[in-house]
């Protein structure tokens, strides 16, 4: 008994992807009908990928059709695995591309998360060069950007991208589906060095702990001791109301963010550019995150052509207390980074506080003071962060304390 499994995309407008059909049969070995734009250069390599892939997935006899538009090997493998598993859902073997050396770097709990670039989980083309645009983080999305019929296929693309794509030092994030369904995404991503899992439509602390426990169980099973961090997204009235509980539900949470499309619908209004309707929710998220000691991150700005609007939105987010913002197009990254870069006045003030702090440390004083004014610890902490951000943004020399600061 055989059932045909198909996966991927085809058509004139498809690039860097492929469509594969696998029809397992009882005998006759593997036959491959290949149409490829890169046939002259990679026809043999594609056949080899398909043949060895089928063997790894335990398919000995099958009629295979491939329509290829220049898919990279990891994409071919993802499409092949999806096609085979649609034909034979009982298949347990995985078809894993090699874990590239450039996919093994780690992250830090308190790294900067100014920009995070959303990448639809079923579109490998957009992932390949995403890291080159320098976002602080990339989000391989399994949730809203993936059609419900492609959820299974997107898991393989995301998993293989985690193993093969060089994200150039960006924090590697994955947005799973809404809990509880999203818990079933975790086995496909957790073993492959994601740094942060985004939990969408998070409404209760139990959503967080459920993900945290499943992640930790998989890590233990795999013998991995690198922690994976969590970033809940609150997108409803209830989620916002319980924001502090959510942000403090687990030590794994490093940041809290907000999704406004669903939120505004939930409270019975519409999203506007001015954003008056979401002012409370955004401030609530900032307050909850700060109270829990995690980073508050703002939502995305969705008009990719309006750079002035984006700049205004970033400055507003910064003034509300957010540390970062989501983006959906690489051109938004630089605008966001510029917006979160401290101003000259902010840097000057922070430098004075940091110097006063160092002075107090040196003298063993318990209290930091600037002139006649006493400086409280949170202010010192913020100043340290401002200086750090200024250095990383390239507007302040790293050795400013040794006289490098004057030309900043």
């Amino acid at each position: 008994m055989s059932q045909k499994g198909q996966a991927g995309r085809r058509g004139d407008r498809v690039r860097s992807d492929c469509w594969i059909s696998v029809e397992p049969r009882d005998s006759g070995g593997v036959s491959i009908e290949l149409k490829s734009r890169v046939e002259a250069m990679y026809g043999a390599a594609i056949r080899e990928t398909i043949e060895s892939g089928l063997a790894a997935l335990g398919v000995e006899h099958a009629a295979v059709e491939v329509a290829d538009a220049g898919a990279l090997p990891f994409v071919l493998m993802a499409r092949l695995e999806a096609a085979v598993k649609r034909a034979r859902p009982e298949t347990e073997a995985e078809l894993l591309p090699e874990m590239a050396a450039w996919s093994t770097y780690g992250t830090l709990r308190d790294r900067f998360r100014r920009s995070r670039l959303y990448l639809p989980g079923d579109q490998a083309k957009l992932m390949i060069n995403a890291g080159l645009h320098g976002p602080d983080g990339v989000i391989l999305d399994l949730e809203d950007s993936v059609a419900t019929t492609e959820k299974d296929a997107a898991r393989f693309v995301v998993r293989n991208a985690l193993r093969q794509v060089d994200f150039q030092g960006a924090e590697r994030m994955v947005r799973i589906n809404q809990i509880p369904a999203g818990l079933d995404d975790l086995p496909y991503v957790v073993p492959h060095n994601p740094h942060v899992i985004l939990i969408p439509k998070c409404e209760t602390p139990e959503h967080v702990t459920a993900v945290d426990e499943r992640v930790k169980a998989i890590l233990a099973e795999q013998g991995i001791d690198t922690p994976i961090y969590l970033m809940p997204i609150v997108e409803s009235a209830l989620g916002c109301w319980r924001a502090y509980e959510i942000a403090s539900a687990s030590d794994s949470v490093v940041a809290l963010t907000i999704g406004l499309e669903d939120y505004t619908a939930d409270i019975g209004t519409q999203r506007t550019n001015e954003g008056r309707e979401s002012f409370w929710a955004r401030s609530q998220v900032v307050n909850a995150a700060r109270a829990a000691g995690v980073q508050p991150i703002d939502t995305v700005f969705s008009d990719v052509t309006d750079m002035d609007g984006l700049t205004a939105s970033v400055l507003e987010a910064k003034s509300l207390g957010f540390d970062g913002k989501g983006c959906i197009h690489p051109r938004q990254i630089e605008v966001i980074h510029r917006g979160f870069t401290p101003t000259e006045a902010e840097i000057e003030k922070a430098k004075r506080i940091v110097l006063a702090f160092d002075e107090a440390e040196k003298k063993g004083l318990g209290v930091v003071s600037l002139g006649s004014k006493m400086i409280d610890p949170p202010v010192v902490k913020r100043a340290l962060r401002t200086v750090d951000l200024a250095v990383r943004s390239g507007v302040l020399s790293g050795n400013w304390q040794e006289g490098g600061g004057e030309d900043a």
Binding site: V38, A40, M41, A44, A45, A71, L72
Partner: protein
């Protein structure tokens, strides 16, 4: 067809020593070939053969071709200023077919997909072969060995050179004219098929035995400015429409939305600034391709910020270049072709938006040319190898797909920059050795890819100029190796047959490479 004798040229490429019955000189190196003798010239005309009233009109193209004495084996030229909207070249060969003429050589300044009907003319014997760019379907036809003669691809400057030194003798030139008068004066500034300028037809008007002007907008004498001078013209005729305006110039030129291309364009502009090229009174040339256009826009922004203006920029002009001109960011546009309606308007209205030709800009037999005076030029390529050699006519699958255009001629600028993706889909653009050599690496200075900028090691001056700039300067081999890791190894070489189907000329008329039949 007899198998061509091949020789190894100075670039190490095997090239034919005879092309379509004429001896061919293998490429000797950059600035190594010095032809002697005198320029070619058509027979001397006399005014007594032309009507004193100045009216040279004939009924239609067929009548004009007959009057011009068309016969088997002649060379007929047309031009590409109407781009993919051209109706004239097809009409000429349609008329030739009706007249029962055979074995013509088509000598276009470039071909477009709209000329696919030439394949039928080649199959039924009207056209013997093409010497000119072979794009899209024509390229595929030539690569598959369908053409009887050998294709010859020349740069815009190389075409002028071949006409001037007699390598190609044009029997009949047919010039599509958006506006013309009965005497044969013509320009491209007005009329439904307005395209700006007619520079690609200049050599043909002066050197062909017979010159026919075809227009759909015949006005009373005088038609000024006479971009084509009626004194060179034998016959004038009309057709209802010489082209499809929507395919000649675009209403508005679109800049690329691709984040990778925008990144490459921005890095290119940053390089030009950081290398000290963007200085008061500088000059540059950039085409109308998505990346080149975006480069110009980024550079314009940087020029505004720095308060720097250019003395001249060379087009293909677009609304963006005209904005530069009208904003005072450049004193002049020296334009080779206009790509959008705003470019045409500006050329009509602005005396500092000047039309040029391959003679002024690219010609090897000129006493100098504009291209070598440019401070920098931004060009494309299908492949670049680790020695900075580049290909523009074939892809890695070996199929002819593009013409050379002014590309080879522009390599002589003071800084030649190729902003290109390091791979397209799965196909590496950076390779060990280019499939077809069109431009020698010694003339190509900088490759800007999304993964970093490679500077030709010969250009130590550029390397030191940008050191400390923060730009991602990387060895070309390193970027290539990274790409090969991503795409799963280097590409397999195409399976070529023995037969040479096309020769690639260098700017001096020597043969720099050949293209072989596929399969």
């Amino acid at each position: 067809m007899p198998k061509a004798e091949l020789a190894r040229n100075a670039a190490g490429r095997m090239v034919p020593t005879e092309i379509n019955g004429r001896e061919a000189v293998p490429y000797k190196g950059v600035a190594a070939h010095r032809p002697t003798g005198t320029r070619a010239a058509p027979a001397i005309p006399t005014v007594m053969d032309y009507p004193d009233c100045g009216n040279k009109t004939v009924e239609n193209i067929k009548a004009a071709l007959e009057a011009a004495g068309i016969r088997d084996g002649m060379t007929i030229s047309t031009h590409h200023h109407l781009r993919n909207g051209d109706f004239v070249a097809n009409a000429v060969f349609e008329a030739a077919a009706e007249l029962g003429v055979k074995d013509l050589m088509w000598f276009p300044s470039a071909s477009f997909p709209c000329h696919a009907s030439m394949i039928d003319h080649m199959k039924n014997g009207v056209v013997h072969h093409i010497e000119g760019s072979m794009n899209g379907p024509l390229g595929a036809f030539c690569s598959s060995g369908g053409m009887r003669g050998m294709g010859v691809l020349r740069s815009h400057g190389g075409r002028y050179q071949a006409v001037q030194d007699g390598e190609v003798h044009i029997d009949i030139a047919v010039i599509a004219a958006p506006t013309a008068d009965p005497f044969g004066n013509a320009h491209g500034l007005d009329g439904p098929a307005a395209c700006g300028l007619l520079g690609f037809a200049l050599a043909d008007s002066q050197y062909a035995d017979k010159v026919i002007v075809v227009t759909d907008t015949l006005i009373e004498f005088p038609c000024v400015p006479w971009q084509i001078q009626g004194n060179y013209v034998d016959y004038v005729t009309t057709m209802d429409a010489i082209g499809d305006a929507s395919k000649i110039v675009s209403g508005t030129t679109q800049i690329t939305k691709s984040p990778d291309r925008l990144r490459i364009a921005e890095m290119t502009a940053q390089f030009v600034r950081e290398a000290g090229i963007m200085e008061q009174g500088f000059s540059f040339q950039a085409g109308a391709g998505g990346t080149a256009l975006s480069f110009a826009i980024f550079l314009m922004e940087m020029m505004r910020e720095a308060g720097v203006t250019a003395r001249f920029v060379r087009g293909g002009s677009t609304q963006y270049l005209t904005r530069m001109l009208e904003e005072g960011l450049t004193d002049y546009i020296l334009d080779g072709q206009t790509f959008d309606l705003d470019g045409v308007r500006s050329m009509r209205e602005n005396p500092t938006h000047v039309n040029t030709s391959p003679f002024t800009s690219y010609n090897y037999h000129g006493k100098g040319n504009f291209a070598s005076m440019l401070d920098c030029v931004v060009l494309g390529a299908t492949e670049v190898d680790v020695n900075f050699n580049a290909n523009v006519v074939t892809h890695s699958d070996g199929q002819l797909l593009h013409g050379i255009g002014g590309w080879q001629n522009c390599l002589f600028s003071k800084c030649t920059i190729l902003p290109i993706p390091s791979f397209r889909d799965r196909i590496p653009v950076l390779v060990d050795e280019v499939t077809t050599l069109c431009g020698p690496g010694e003339l190509i200075d900088v490759i800007v890819t999304e993964r970093g900028i490679a500077i030709n090691p010969r250009r130590e001056d550029l390397l030191s100029a940008v050191s400390g700039s923060g730009l991602p300067i990387r060895p070309i081999e390193e970027i290539k190796a990274e790409v090969e890791t991503i795409v799963g190894g280097p590409p397999a070489k195409p399976a070529f047959g023995d037969r040479v189907v096309a020769a690639i000329k260098w700017v001096d008329g020597t043969v720099i490479d050949s293209v072989r039949q596929l399969g």
